[in-house]
Symmetry: C2
Subunit: 169 residues, 2 copies
Amino acid sequence: MTISMHSASVPIFVRMLGNMLTWLDKAEAHATAKKFDTSVLLATRLAPDMLVFKEQIQIACDAAKFGVARLAGVEAPKFEDTEATLDELRARIRKTIDYVQSVPPAQIDGSEDRDVTVPRRAGPMIVKGEPYLKQFVLPNFFFHVTTTYALLRHNGVDLGKSDYLGPLK
Amino acid sequence: MTISMHSASVPIFVRMLGNMLTWLDKAEAHATAKKFDTSVLLATRLAPDMLVFKEQIQIACDAAKFGVARLAGVEAPKFEDTEATLDELRARIRKTIDYVQSVPPAQIDGSEDRDVTVPRRAGPMIVKGEPYLKQFVLPNFFFHVTTTYALLRHNGVDLGKSDYLGPLK
């Protein structure tokens, strides 16, 4: 078995998104123990000009969703950014996991040399699938996943590295 | 060209470590403008039980170094954790880039099905190269890279997403 564009993307997204679900459970337990409303967590940020917690999760989901869709050359489903509770954020994560798992691996494999059109503020950019995955999708996905984790740690949620990584199998 | 264990690891490390060098330049400029000693930044953390800034950089470097060495089946060079200045952290990053680039790609390619021994507190664990890279090395590397970035943003350094990602080529 050799590594492929599917194996270098979808399983990583599924794993980390699944880990995030456990962080949200711990976040909820923390809020209950400390008697504060979880809406406070949803609106927290690390710097005044950084995105808030719920946006970090929404964009982590979109990084995975759009990454997979563009590599596969299909239209991504539209997710409205309307989540206002931890439960709704969990649902967003779950539907992202379902979506990236629904795309046939064969449609993603071989995308390393295919052109991918990336919408950018300055206009669309065309790059090959491999640099798109390695230079943009993966770093961007991990950025929002790790920032989500960092925000919870910064707000006192009892998480550790093993919650971030999940079990190594 | 198909994606390989080398192409899914070394170029990602080199790129993100290179981006970190530019963040440190901006961190230094910020400290100069605000007239504080950069040693303050080196000791900053996001939570009382998280590692400080300089350790985030040291471990990001080690994640790349050990990841590459273990996939290639070679002994990693030992880096002492003695960095006490931004310049020394830059040197640590540069020698990590040099090291991961010095390992022949052919030695890393094909490691997806090879056994890798991972030292853990509970005793060594043997996993195949591909899950090792995807479930441990990449998430761990991005964790420490993103936390480094988050710490600088939290401390007012003027960075944006394009500094994090670097130019898409």
